[in-house]
């Protein structure tokens, strides 16, 4: 039985904090704590997956961008395997440069669930599974860094973010939302490596690559953190030859992980669309960003008090806080810095390196926010770092206070408090699953609409190759419809361009006189039917809370 807990009633550094120590807690702990730790790990790891399965059973289906992610995931392993990520909005700005998010890693990760479970269930359950693994890794790493105390505190971070953002955050495949919990893992893995636990390096490279590939916001946040870790590693390995030998294997595995994950992006760069060049050009010539002041304001809003995750309203993240709150938010950061310096002067490393890691994360986040174009200012998904950072700051402050008061507490209180907190936050986290439902999903009302319109098309039109034209309908409906109809043997082509759904779905790749039919869907019958087409079906939909809508399906057979 091994447990490296800090000695109760002593203010001397623990074995964990000795300068050259990169020691870690193992899951072999006192029997009294063991069941609590395993219970927390099992329950937390199950929460995202259960939430995904629950919403899937309620009728979840891919819509909008999630539908294009699904389509591209089903293309993995074919001649149209994606080499880059989802399209970005860079083309919408002045002098627009068309580009995509850096890499296809999410498509590759969702390939198996989409293939095994199908394109309707696969994306959400696959994402739930991915988040379950992420939560498991976060809690494992938290325990490795600080036993049941940090396990309980990081469980509190997960519970707070899940409850603050709602159950959708547990299983949302949207590439700008899927980064949320991996940001927590990034902080923990970075902290571990800075602390000298180089065995975590391959995991750090993996999670950093994931964040950098799925969305440009992740890439801009991860890049400075990567440079920081590189610099720390270079200094550590230069001054500690013994550690260099030990780290060799981890460095090798990290290089392998990086090479495998970035290979598709490099192939695209060399012989494909040259997406990295497009992204670089946009950074150089794109619109001016929000500026440093906005970056600092977002930092304040993230921390509060109250932190962004405790504030209601979907625009809470751009609320400008009052002067007292500004001072309080920075005072919290100052307090953490003061604790870190104090403990560093006492020869400890664990707490100071966590605060240092959070500091680097904060600087990266401020720099990234300063660069966000004004037109992206109200997109909450571009600022998800705020929810994670706010929770991490407060939890780190709680840990600092715990470290200070622990020597003065009774031995029994020290033993009982962390498991008790862990059990409470587990119950809180479980509550997030209770609220799972289509009403809490982005575009939830759209999901039954897609099912109904798809059924109308399938009931009136034989499968085959068609051009799909949508009049007066949302983009979200179109992509979801394509997923559903492809699943039933249709091959649909549209005019969204090959960057969005691949060349094999683009009408641009088909000769004008090609013998393919046309499915034309309208939200109004005011205009006459399209030339040569006849009305095949209508679909009446009345999603809860939205106006009743009728869709008209016209079909023109192949010549």
């Amino acid at each position: 039985m091994r447990l490296h807990e800090e000695p109760t009633g002593s203010s001397t550094p623990s074995s964990e904090d000795r300068p050259r120590a990169a020691r870690h807690h193992r899951l072999r702990v006192p029997a009294s704590d063991r069941w609590v730790i395993w219970a927390i790990l099992i329950v937390f790891t199950a929460i995202p997956l259960v939430s995904a399965m629950r919403v899937s059973a309620q009728g979840w289906r891919p819509t909008g961008d999630v539908a294009t992610i699904t389509l591209r995931s089903s293309d993995v392993g074919t001649a149209d395997t994606p080499l880059i990520g989802q399209p970005t909005t860079t083309g919408a700005y002045a002098g627009g440069v068309e580009s995509s998010h850096p890499g296809p890693i999410e498509n590759y990760l969702l390939f198996v669930p989409v293939t095994v479970l199908g394109p309707i269930v696969g994306p959400v359950v696959g994402t739930g599974l991915l988040m379950s693994v992420t939560w498991g890794l976060i809690l494992w790493l938290a325990h490795r860094r600080g036993g049941i105390v940090l396990l309980a505190l990081f469980a509190a971070v997960l519970a707070a973010v899940a409850v603050g953002l709602g159950s959708q955050s547990l299983h949302d495949p949207l590439n700008s939302e899927i980064s949320l919990y991996p940001y927590v893992l990034l902080v923990l893995a970075t902290w571990s490596v800075v602390l000298g636990d180089t065995r975590i390096l391959p995991l750090l490279v993996g999670v950093a690559s994931f964040l950098a590939q799925v969305h440009v916001s992740g890439a801009r946040l991860v890049l400075p953190i990567g440079l920081f870790v590189g610099a720390v590693l270079a200094i550590q390995l230069r001054h500690h030859p013994r550690r260099r030998r030990r780290a060799k294997r981890s460095l090798g595995w990290a290089a392998v992980v990086a090479a495998v994950l970035w290979l598709p992006v490099l192939i695209d760069q060399v012989s494909g669309s040259g997406n990295l060049t497009s992204l670089r050009r946009f950074v150089q010539t794109g619109p001016r960003g929000l500026g440093a002041l906005a970056g600092l304001e977002h930092l304040v809003t993230a921390i509060g008090p109250p932190p962004v995750l405790a504030r209601p309203g979907w625009l809470s993240f751009i609320q400008v806080l009052g002067p007292v709150q500004v001072v309080l938010a920075f005072a919290v950061l100052g307090l953490l810095g003061g604790f870190a310096v104090d403990r560093s002067l006492r020869g400890e490393r664990r707490f100071p390196t966590l605060v240092l890691t959070l500091g680097v994360f904060a600087v990266s986040a401020v720099a990234y926010t300063a660069s966000v174009p004004s037109t992206g200012a109200v997109r909450a998904d571009a600022f998800r770092w705020m929810w994670v950072f706010g929770a991490l700051v407060w939890v780190t402050l709680v840990w600092a206070i715990w470290l200070e008061v622990k020597p003065r507490l009774a031995r029994k209180a020290v033993r009982v408090a962390p498991p008790a907190v862990a059990v409470i936050v587990t119950v809180v986290a479980m509550s997030s699953v209770i609220w799972t439902g289509l009403g809490h999903e982005r575009q939830g009302p759209l999901m039954p609409v897609i099912a109904k319109v798809s059924a109308a098309v399938r009931g009136s039109t034989p499968p085959g190759e068609y051009r799909l034209v949508m009049d007066g309908s949302l983009w979200e409906l179109e992509t979801g419809l394509i997923v559903d109809l492809e699943d039933h043997g249709f091959h649909l082509r549209n005019d969204r361009g090959s960057r969005t759904m691949g060349e094999h779905r683009s009408i641009d790749e088909v000769p004008v006189d090609a013998p393919i039919g046309e499915i034309h869907i309208r939200a109004s019958d005011v205009e006459p039917p399209p030339a040569g087409a006849s009305l095949a079906a209508t679909a009446d939909v009345d999603p809860p809370g939205w106006p009743t809508q009728r869709y008209w399906v016209y079909v023109r057979s192949a010549p």
Partner: protein, 138 residues
């Protein structure tokens, strides 16, 4: 590493708080000096985006009636505190006119067009805001 003196130790521990409070001061001073453009961009987006979010119809390229309803739903209060001086008059006029437009819309009989409820001045003011957004925030 030699142990720092108690005085030096206190200074080192206090240094992060000094840096943090300096940052807080910079934010507060920066707010006073901002020309309002960034606030305007964010506020305009928020005002319009919230309306779209609330109305959230499934389908339809916006008709003139839709545009009137979007205008009526615009959270003009959000813009009032974040508008540069040259646009303040337009925002003030809209803030005065929108409450009546909302009441008129509620009373509008089923099937009648809403476009007649909007005065040319109101359209001009709304257009001025949209143009300013396009030029300053695009």
């Amino acid at each position: 590493m030699t142990e720092p003196s108690p005085r030096r130790r206190r200074l080192l521990v206090a240094a992060p708080m000094a840096v943090a409070l300096t940052c807080a001061a910079l934010v507060l001073v920066g707010r006073g000096q901002a020309d309002g453009s960034d606030d305007f961009c964010t506020a305009y987006q928020a005002a319009v985006a919230e309306t779209i979010q609330d109305s959230g119809p499934i389908a339809g390229s916006p008709t003139p009636d839709d545009v009137v309803r979007l205008l009526a739903g615009m959270d003009i209060a959000r813009l009032e505190s974040a508008t540069p001086p040259d646009l303040r008059a337009a925002v003030d006029r809209l803030a005065q006119g929108l409450p009546k437009l909302r009441i008129d819309l509620e009373d509008l009989p089923e099937g009648e067009s809403a476009i007649a409820l909007v005065s040319p001045d109101m359209i001009a003011d709304a257009s001025a805001l949209g143009d300013a957004y396009g030029k300053r925030c695009g």
